[in-house]
Amino acid sequence: MVDRRTDENVGLPPREVADILPPHAHGWIGRYVFSQDAKYIAIQYAGTAVAIGLVALVLSWLMRLQLGFPGLFDFITPEAYYQFVTMHGMIMVVYLLTAIFLGGFGNYLIPLMVGARDMVFPFVNMLSYWVYLLAVLVLAASFFVPGGPTGAGWTLYPPQAVLSGTPGGQQGGIILMLLSLILFIIGFTMGGLNYVVTVLQARTRGMTMMRLPLTVWGIFTATVMALLAFPALFVACVMMLFDRLLGTSFFMPALVEMGEQLSYGGGSPIAFQHLFWFFGHPEVYIVALPAFGIVSDLIAVHARKNIFGYRMMVWAIVIIGALSFIVWAHHMYVSGMHPWFGFFFATTTLIIAIPTAIKVYNWVLTLWQGDIHLSLPMLFALGFIVTFVNGGLTGLFLGNVVVDVPLSDTMFVVAHFHMVMGVAPVMVIYGAIYHWYPKMTGRMLNDAMGKIHFWVTFLGAYAIFFPMHYVGLVGVPRRYYEIGEPAFLTAPVDGLNAFISAAALLVGAAQVLFLFNLFWSLRRGRESGPNPWRATSLEWQTPDTPPRHGNWGDALPDVYRWAYDYSVPGAPEDFVAQNDPWVPDAQEGRL
């Protein structure tokens, strides 16, 4: 390997360590199945996440069929309904969103954006995916065991999660769910360590932390958070597994079930809630921070403008990450906590709104007077901002103890977190796929299909979740198989529930069009060339599109600037790539 530039003629500092090409398998299986190349691992992660996510999508349809048209579908029993709710929630939050943002985008983008040849530990990275796949398979297996999957709700609160009254509680369902989560955390830890070490140790020459694209900052911070938050879920799962299998009483108080005194006693169900939400709330930002980073990059590229307040954006990411560890108990206001604790957690919750608002203002100010191209990534980015703000506003309601208590466990909460943690990040995932698909395949996704996909998804999501806020406000509880008789509830919400269900079916169907577009464009999409969006960050400057093994051909790139030099006065084009040595005041325009 030879440096592209010699040190003497441009005054570059020498490389600390020789540039080494990562191990490269030559066989088909080594290259595509047990691949150690982060780009293939990313696609494996994303493919698996989308596949299991589709299962969760179908489960949401089944839930909505029951809520919209109660009694019409005999096969949706109360037990099945609870199983649908549980599996939908857990799959979407953990196995789809976390996996696709960190395992998918993290693997694909980190090495390319920091100018590395691959992750620092490719073998461990490969193991990470296979353990994740095993976790998904164990979870999916629970659909086929006697009693089916657990119906404990995605929060898996004990003691009910391991008792016979809950679907899967005394059968295999809960065991497989806990085992699967344990495996997921082990797999994620392998990958997460890789992402962190790669950002810390494998940045190319010139790539300071303050020159990293915000996408990398978002994924990096979210990974650090996940590495610190997932142990809480790990501990909770191991302890509950012990309670279920070995008869311990970590979370189990003395209980009488069906008139029979159980052998449990002395444990604390509230301890589980603390452990779960100590993971659960950072999890919101583990999903949100990569989305924040990605959307910042999408907006800058497609508005042809440097990101407004880059430093503030970095600080806000870090501050949000830190604050998210001291707000967990706002999910537990109704658990009987001391009022002073409620006050403390309400305060910290509302303080998080400050760095978050900084980010929103900066996105808007980036758009201000920008050359906005309403391309598909930009549409989805705009959709994200609007949705995130709307979802965030209802978060202000729920962050306050006195407002949360009456709204707790109603459909208002469901609508809130679906807006802020469901629709908003999914908008970013789509925007990111439309944005980076040309780099991954060398072809553009079909624009017409993409536009239909965007409008149906965006408007449809509002058709689902706006009325759902109202349904919650009038008092409809969440996790109820059917509302029953009270007329003051059923009269206003019956029609709305049917409407929401119809919208959900339509939005779900639009995702099939997106999947079709992914495969259709692989062969028939317009050729994209190496940098169709005229973007500055390093992943668009690879010598090959899609990038080959080792990413950078013979020489690693050198970085001369940050990732947001758009519309620079005097520059030959309206963007200056990070590895372009052009400077405005140099004699010949180049270093």
């Binding site: 140790q201 020459r205 303050m210 938050a229 008869g247 560890f325």
Partner: protein, 232 residues
């Protein structure tokens, strides 16, 4: 949740120190040209950084367990398991293993194979003796009527020591790999990166064990009660 919050405060301090070195107040939009302090390809110590981050994750795990234990004992202080004296000896053995690992690093730095071999063997023996001692403690407690499925405090003891023991076992496997490489005649100084990572891991195992040991004795709850009284 005091234990985990205290641990995260330490992590935040370390992260804050690192961030303070990253020129977060820089104005990258004004800087053009290769930054002298930038990353320079694969860094020199990815293994050590990997172990360091893993140690933080492991710390989070044990701190969470510690928090859950403290919450439990808050409710049922009378259920604390009386720890057999053997636990003190085990703690001393782990301390010895940790100290020996530091000798291993020093020997690898100075390139002295005899010191390296001797310290490696001593660290390995002390670690295996620690594990054996923990198993003996388990046996003694089980025979004393403290069953895994008994009172939650006893269950916590088995879970905490078991998970810690698993991590020690993982470390012993890594140590065995280094011993094998050394026996195979690898240059002593080439063992340094692996040895440094191993030593860091061992020091962390000791630090986490000391924390857990203190909590299992009930000192954590006593300390918190003292703090509450002081604040009150």
């Amino acid at each position: 949740m005091t234990v985990i919050l205290a641990f995260l405060a330490l992590v935040a301090l370390a992260a804050g120190w690192w961030l303070s070195q990253q020129h977060l107040a820089a104005k990258p939009w004004l800087e053009t040209g290769v930054a002298p302090r930038a990353g320079h390809g694969p860094g020199q110590a990815p293994g050590l950084i990997f172990t360091g981050v893993f140690v933080a994750v492991m710390g989070g795990l044990f701190a969470m367990l510690g928090s859950a234990f403290v919450m439990q004992i808050e409710e049922t202080p009378y259920e604390l398991v009386p720890l057999p004296p053997r636990v003190w000896l085990n703690t001393a053995l782990l301390l010895l293993a940790s100290a020996c690992m530091q000798f291993v690093v020093a020997a690898a730095r100075t390139g002295e194979p005899r010191w390296l071999r001797g310290s490696l063997i001593a660290a390995s023996i002390a670690s295996v003796a620690f594990l054996t001692g923990q198993v003996q403690v388990w046996t003694a407690l089980t025979e004393g009527g403290y069953a895994l499925n008994g009172a939650p405090a006893a269950s916590f003891f088995y879970l905490i020591t078991g998970l810690h023991g698993l991590h020690v076992t993982g470390g012993i496997i890594a140590l065995a790999v280094i011993c094998y490489r050394q026996a195979a005649g690898r240059d002593v100084t080439s063992l340094l990166p692996g040895v440094r990572a191993c030593a860091l891991y061992w020091h962390a195992l000791l630090a986490f064990w000391l924390m857990l040991f203190a909590l299992l004795q009930g000192w954590g709850n006593a300390f918190l009660a003292l703090c509450r009284t002081a604040v009150g």
